[in-house]
Point group: C2
Chain length 180, copies 2
Amino acid sequence: MANILRADAQTNRDRILAVARTALAAEAGASVNSITKAAGVGAGTFYRHFPTREALVFEVYKQQIETLVTLGPALITELRPVEALRAWCLQVSEYARVKHSLAEALGGLAGQDFSSAHQPMLDTLRLLINAGKQTGELNASAEPEDIFVLLTCIWRLRTNDADQARSQRLLELVIRGLEV
Amino acid sequence: MANILRADAQTNRDRILAVARTALAAEAGASVNSITKAAGVGAGTFYRHFPTREALVFEVYKQQIETLVTLGPALITELRPVEALRAWCLQVSEYARVKHSLAEALGGLAGQDFSSAHQPMLDTLRLLINAGKQTGELNASAEPEDIFVLLTCIWRLRTNDADQARSQRLLELVIRGLEV
DNA sequence: ACCTGAACACCGTTCAAGT
DNA sequence: ACCTGAACACCGTTCAAGT
């Protein structure tokens, strides 16, 4: 992880990311030009550091994911598996409500970039589900990828819709479908 | 439903819709300009008939919905409620796989236009669910709107993803969550 | 009334020219 | 090496000018 970038290049990259974090949190659709302008760099500079707009979203997304991923193992030691799963899903939901770019990234089901980017989330989900299978609380037919698709839908809803009671009901329904 | 449009205006409107149906089925993101060009009308003509691009999608969507809505009551007379629900969901899924604009419209959870446009679908879903409640096969806590959100997610997946086995598993999981 | 199509304000992205 | 910013090809949408 040594610095292979020239000092000014590194500064620009950091500035772009810093601006992007707040801009995308405020509005998921924030344009590249608005970000470069706020960061005080030319458009070309942006594309020197990120091949595409999606790559920028991906980078911001990756940083936010780490927070949530570390939460999984912590919850498992404290709660029963099903409760840990529920708590983790609620945490993600809460996080997505504030960080709009996360919700956008979660919804990128089609993008090839994101399917690999989702991997840490899938691993955490798998961890939680497997714990439930071992205690016999969850049935064994559930694939983490399947459940991730449904959760993705719920998490995005939480961002757009004022009604967060619905997202909670939906989570309960999914968990009930998972219980043995 | 009398013709209040001048003859040429009516022709143009019909042509736009005809082109849009095939164009949007081929690619959900088809541009307004590409549609007007293929329909042989100016851009201004388009906006005389449809206030916005979304309104066009909405119109095409509405026509396709009717086919699916009439299916609900038919299935109920033939099958047990849960089977009818399952069959209807699969039908929608199959339809969305071909008509991409339908998948796009289904995903428009946020758009105010669409939340009212979804109404017939919601009514059909309510019909199917209520039948299941009366026979005691489905539990009473399920709101049609809630389930619609999850199904929307599954239906869109079917369009993008080659893996349709997943969409079937997800449907089963949701239905299992509904069963009493 | 209704139509056309150039034009506008955006978007993501590229590339010649600078240091 | 890295940067700038005008320019490109798009997008949805508007509007003056025509019939």
